[in-house]
């Protein structure tokens, strides 16, 4: 598709320029000031943090329109999910928002549990909360520190990337993997926290606030940083809602919508935490809201860890929860269930369920239609990135190229979640 076709009628300045040039976009020496540049930002540009293209029409330094093209890493997860038993869908959810895959995993398991009507024991719920909040911190750390890199400050990134590494070590201790965690099971967690995991977690909880404070001291009132981000890419609350914003991007605009508070899941109602909100929804507010959310997540983790109840770490759901491996060797029942679960031979009840969790970027929803078979009849992911990225083309108009990079960075658009 030709670029000019895509841009046709997108902006008044283009139209005016076209009229003045008699319908031609070829400039002459007389109207040199009217020359427009078409700039392809991406698909693979280090500043776009993933594979998506933005065709920017620029008048000198000023962006007059932007057309985003997405779908470069589309992997047809919704279609693949129609053929897979519930367990095998977990690795698909890992690969959506890969900065906080535990949240995606838990969201999916909560959806299946809602469909099956499984009650998860308190201990497993608290463990899930701990892992989800760790994932949220890791997600926000990446977003905010890369925002720093995009404004030219590399140090902060190095500071907090170490901390993300430590979070990944905790993941590793809990489930064995680091990035695509595949954590948890339908009915609870795969295994209990080991003493080492709890020790690592406690150590990290003690050390992290110092680093976080340093990070904030480096950025929050930094003159250079503020010059780059204050009043850049603001969006009003009405517009943000109309565009379907959720998560930190919506809260930065001043709407205190948080799935954890409004529709609590996994015992979030047991914990005390605040919802940080911004005022004018610009890049600075998004940055500050994410920083504040990190502190709130720390509060939640501390409460959950202190009050971690004793008891089983998974529900008694033999049809869906894999039996312990030792039992499979000795116990016929366990062997049968193991086989049936692994081969995906257990039918789900008929029904349709929508469940959403507060992901790193906002409301991550799963709409699952089951026709009583082994696999979902239809599975639709409500991916927050996909829904709010369409506002980007409006947010960049009138800004400069360097602002466009910062806006993209502060929105935390994850290509895997965008395309799915």
């Amino acid at each position: 598709m030709a670029v000019n076709d895509a841009l046709a009628g997108t902006h008044k300045i283009v139209e005016e320029a076209r009229e003045q040039q008699g319908g031609q976009l070829v400039p002459t020496l007389n109207d040199f000031s009217q020359e427009l540049t078409t700039l392809n930002l991406g698909p693979t540009h280090p500043a776009t943090h993933g594979i998506f293209q933005n065709i920017l029409q620029m008048d000198g330094e000023r962006i007059i329109s932007g057309v985003p093209t997405i779908g470069y890493i589309h992997r047809a997860f919704e279609k693949i999910a129609e053929r897979r038993p519930f367990y095998q869908i977990t690795p698909l959810t890992d690969r959506m928002n890969y900065c906080s895959s535990p949240i995606n995993n838990m969201g999916w398991h909560l959806t299946v549990e809602k469909l099956l009507g499984i009650q998860v024991p308190k201990r497993a719920q608290y463990m899930r909360v701990i892992m989800m909040e760790l994932a949220r911190i890791a997600d926000h750390l990446i977003c905010n520190s890369i925002l720093g890199v995009d404004t030219g400050a590399f140090t902060g990134f190095l500071y907090v990337f170490q901390e993300r590494e430590k979070i990944y070590e905790i993941y590793e201790e809990v489930c064995g993997s680091r990035l695509t965690t595949n954590m948890g099971r339908v009915g609870g967690m795969e295994r209990d926290f080991t003493p080492v995991a709890i020790e690592k977690l406690r150590k990290w909880l003690k050390e992290f606030p110092t680093v976080m404070k340093e990070f904030e001291a480096m950025f929050n009132r930094n003159r250079i940083f503020m010059d780059r981000v204050v009043n850049v890419g603001p969006i009003t609350a009405e517009k943000a809602l109309n565009y379907g914003f959720t998560g930190p991007n919506l809260r930065a605009a001043g709407v205190d919508y948080d799935v954890r508070v409004m529709n609590p899941y996994s015992s979030y109602e047991d914990f005390e935490f605040d919802i940080p909100v911004g005022t004018n929804g610009d890049t600075y507010d998004r940055f500050i809201v994410r920083n504040e959310e990190i502190w709130q997540s720390l509060r939640i983790i501390n409460q959950a860890l202190d009050r971690l109840p004793e008891g089983p770490f998974h529900a008694d759901a033999p049809h869906y929860y894999l039996p312990p491996k030792q039992a499979v060797y000795k116990n016929m029942e366990a062997l049968i269930y193991h086989f049936k679960i692994i081969m995906g031979e257990i039918d789900a009840p008929v029904g349709e369920v929508y469940h959403s969790v507060e992901g790193g970027n906002g409301e991550l929803g799963f709409y699952l239609v089951s026709d009583g078979g082994r696999t979902p009849y239809r599975l639709h992911f409500r991916r927050p990135c996909f829904i709010y990225y369409q506002a980007y083309s409006e947010m960049v108009v009138g800004t400069s190229l360097s602002d466009a990079i910062v806006i993209l960075s502060s929105m935390n658009v994850i290509a895997g979640e965008l395309d799915a």
Partner: protein
């Protein structure tokens, strides 16, 4: 796994439903929907897992969603998601669209469904009501071939432009992973 010994009587279930706040809210919303748009507009009303679900006709969908968004008492300001669905065995209702709306003020969700024939997959767009609908409709067009009249830019979004089929329809099953008639002779050279 429901325990048969713990099964409650129907009266107890009815009482529980009466005391359930979501059921009451759903009843309120349904009453309002009926008063605004007429009782005959909605069919197949039920509440799976506490979420009010209604089916309507595609002629009404734009009016209903607009009414819900502008209604002063309900304030459905948030279009959570929408997606297409394909039931090949439902004659003349093969395709469907499913809308999830959310009122942030009262914390009520509602799910609206419409079904229409595969031969005539035309639905009015909602992108003039919610800006969020723009890409979601492009996605539904991309995967199911549903045509949204009045959409400003109805092009494929996730798939390549020159694709000539709609991959999420059930007529395109995924390849069986265990098939043996294919050779991997030239794979990974």
């Amino acid at each position: 796994m429901a325990d048969p010994t713990k099964e409650e009587s129907t009266a107890a279930q009815a009482l529980a439903a009466e005391q359930d706040p979501t059921a009451q809210q759903n009843a309120q919303v349904l009453a309002l929907l009926h008063s605004l748009f007429g009782e005959a507009t909605f069919t197949d009303v039920h509440e799976p897992y506490g979420l009010l679900t209604v089916t309507t006709k595609r002629e009404h969908i734009h009016r209903i969603v607009e009414g819900l968004q502008q209604d002063e008492t309900l304030k459905f300001h948030f279009l959570t998601t929408m997606c297409g669905i394909n039931y090949p065995e439902n004659l003349n209702q093969e395709l469907g669209m499913i809308y999830h709306l959310h009122s942030l003020v009262h914390n009520i969700r509602v799910r609206i469904k419409i079904f229409f024939p595969l031969a005539d997959p035309v639905v009015p767009t909602l992108s003039d009501i919610y800006a969020a609908a723009n890409w979601m409709e492009r996605e539904a067009y991309d995967f199911y071939g549903i045509i949204f009249t009045g959409h400003p830019n109805l092009r494929r979004i996730l798939n390549v432009e020159d694709m000539d089929y709609y991959p999420m329809r059930k007529q395109y099953p995924l390849e069986d992973g265990t098939r043996e008639d294919k050779t991997d002779l030239f794979f990974g050279r």
